[in-house]
């Protein structure tokens, strides 16, 4: 406890960082597919919130967290279907539609939450996914508890990231999707249905965001309140940039962001001489640095935010 190099400090910081990584990574993975196809889905912040609400209400009604995940996925896909229609078919401004959708989602979630649970909701805990503890491995100093005492959903999320990388770089679907995001006209000439591809990718981003919302409720908090997302959808947008639109790098980027978020918590237990105000501001400063190109230049998909129309 006396020095920053104390193992206890590292262990608690790392464990907090890994726990915070899950929902960020899920949301970022979905967003990554959407952006790779050329659609910037800013609306994931709102979808995360709606997914969290769906997971909470379903889990307390049915007593099953698995059904909670299912309903968050359905809500995520439904929201994304609407957004895909706006982004891809009507070709409205992606940023404006996404931002307005977030405002709408906030209002809709608050309203639905009160309709479901009354004006003054009771504190009713949803059934949650308990962490699984892997014997022997969990006893490894420092990293043991951080890596081997986590929820199954975290391991599933990591597997999804690996799957995402495989799909993006090793399958025909992934190749087509990258082509659509780089040069849609050429992709269309090669026989790829650009519109269909983009709609699928926006749906994937909705699925990721919806599941991220379920993760908040079913792994981290057990309760729903309409403020719980706290800008993490926007952080996911930052993670995608830092990860250079690469699912494998997204794991590291999400962990990095989560570590920044967790660092001031652990640092405050030590007399560092840094005022707490500065520590609280630290993650935001590092976020700006992270997306500003300090950690290497990145190139976004060339057709990102460019509407595609077959007739022009």
């Amino acid at each position: 406890m006396d020095t920053l190099l104390d193992l206890g400090f590292l262990a608690t910081w790392l464990a907090a960082a890994v726990r915070l990584t899950g929902p960020l990574l899920l949301a970022a993975l979905g967003e990554l597919f959407s952006e790779r196809s050329g659609v910037l889905n800013v609306g994931i912040e709102g979808i995360i919130l709606l997914g969290a609400l769906a997971a909470y209400v379903t889990a307390i009604q049915t007593g099953s967290p698995v059904l909670g995940i299912g309903s968050a996925a359905v809500i995520g896909l439904a929201s994304a279907a609407f957004l895909a229609w706006m982004y891809v078919i009507t070709q409205a401004s992606q940023v404006v539609v996404g931002l307005i959708f977030n405002v709408f989602a906030m209002g809709a979630a608050s309203y639905a939450f009160r309709m479901a649970l009354g004006d003054v909701p009771r504190v009713e805990l949803a059934p949650m996914f308990e962490p699984v503890s892997i014997p022997l491995l969990r006893d490894i100093p420092v990293i043991g508890s951080a890596l081997f005492e986590q929820s199954l959903l975290l391991y599933a999320t990591l597997a999804l990231a690996a799957l995402g990388g495989y799909v993006l770089y090793r399958t025909r679907f992934g190749l087509n999707l990258r082509a659509v995001g780089e040069y849609p006209r050429a992709a269309a000439a090669a026989g790829i249905d650009v519109v269909r591809m983009r709609i699928i990718c926006v749906l994937i981003s909705g699925l990721g965001a919806g599941l991220a919302g379920a993760y908040f409720v079913l792994v981290q908090i057990g309760l729903f309140r309409d403020t719980i997302v706290q800008g993490r959808g926007f952080i996911a947008l930052g993670i995608v940039i830092l990860a250079r639109w690469n699912p494998y790098l997204a794991i590291a980027a999400a962990l990095g962001f989560a570590a920044m978020d967790a660092l001031p918590l652990s640092l405050q237990l030590f007399d560092t001489g840094i005022p707490s105000q500065a520590l609280v501001a630290l993650p935001y400063l590092l976020t700006i640095l992270a997306v500003s190109g300090v950690f290497g230049r990145s190139r976004n998909p060339a057709a990102l935010m460019q509407p595609y129309s077959a007739n022009r």
Partner: protein, 319 residues
């Protein structure tokens, strides 16, 4: 509402009958409550809202606005003032300087802010502020936490980074150190009142470093802190609402601001013409804070009678 009242006042000059009507209208005290958060937050805002709803309908006419952002607060408060409400309650630190600035324009109406007046503020005659006695409260809870801790390490999770959060944490450490020698008090300020996930990590970090009693001073962030304590089976002390339902097994007690009682008390003062502004109201600690655990005041499975006695003694010794 306003239009009606003004019509009544105008009529008053011409006919006697209308004057009777106006007297009847005047007997009804109108109270407006402006809330920075949701009436369903299960804590700070909800308590005041409940106080408002418990006012007698035959004597009071009530209105409220919730989730009012900092930017909208001045216009909302001014709107109620223009509408002629007898008492306008601003619930939170956001109303600190605003009430003192606005009140002189409406000398016949009363303004009440549930926060202390910012330093150097000259408090108008029709404005009342409230001292929640945060340093004293922190001290009292520190006493209890020290008594409940076996490891000699206790923690508090803070919300927004502001003087209230700092005062609570300082008082907490102070109370603990004076009660049980050598108690270490951790404090983590998350910088956010609404981030349950971060609150949970803050508490988990302190528990990971040996803390076995967790208090918090943050609404929704605090929900996360209590859930961390529940998950790791260490004692939790609730804040801003009765949190028994969330973690009945690990919760020792909750410190609940008596916003319900305060709103009723001030509305009563205005109704009885006994409202005296120009100052900051400093009630007894027991008037502003209640200890709640379900139907009782503490969890006997966690707090021994002797410890509760000691705590209560320290509580009432604070003047």
């Amino acid at each position: 509402m306003t239009v009606l009242k003004k019509t009544v006042q105008t009529l008053c000059y011409s006919t006697v009958a209308a004057c009777v009507l106006s007297a009847a209208a005047a007997a009804e005290t109108s109270v407006a409550l402006v809330l920075p958060g949701s009436i369903g937050d299960g804590g700070w805002n909800q308590g005041a809202y409940v106080g408002l709803t418990m006012l007698d309908e035959s004597e009071f006419k009530v209105a409220f606005s919730e989730n009012v952002s900092q930017a909208d607060i001045p216009s909302v408060v001014q709107g109620y003032a223009d509408d002629g409400f007898d008492l306008i309650i601003g619930h939170g630190f956001q109303f600190g300087s605003l009430m003192a600035e606005l009140a002189p324009e409406y000398p016949d109406q009363a303004f009440f802010a549930t926060t202390s007046a910012p330093g150097d503020t000259e408090i108008p005659e029709n404005t009342l502020y409230l001292d929640y006695r945060y340093p004293d409260l922190g001290y009292a809870v520190g006493v209890l936490a020290a008594l409940l801790s076996d490891s000699g390490k206790i923690g508090v999770v803070g919300g927004g980074d502001n003087p209230t959060t700092q005062n609570l944490a300082t008082g907490y450490a102070d109370g603990a150190a004076k009660t049980v020698d050598g108690t270490t008090s951790y404090s983590i300020v998350t910088g956010d009142y609404n981030d349950a996930a971060k609150g949970r990590e803050a508490a988990t970090t302190m528990i990971g470093n040996g803390a076995d009693v967790i208090w918090h001073s943050a609404d929704i962030t605090g929900i996360g802190a209590v859930s961390a304590a529940a998950a790791q089976k260490v004692t939790a002390i609730g804040m801003f609402s009765d949190q028994t339902e969330q973690a009945p097994e690990v919760l020792a007690t909750s410190l609940n601001p008596n916003n319900t009682g305060i709103v009723q008390a001030v509305a009563g003062m205005v109704a009885k013409d006994s409202f005296e502004g120009g100052t900051t109201w400093v009630p007894d600690l027991g008037m502003v804070w209640l200890t709640v655990y379900g139907d009782g005041s503490y969890n006997p499975a966690i707090v021994s009678d002797a410890d509760w006695e000691t705590f209560k003694k320290a509580w009432s010794a604070i003047k």
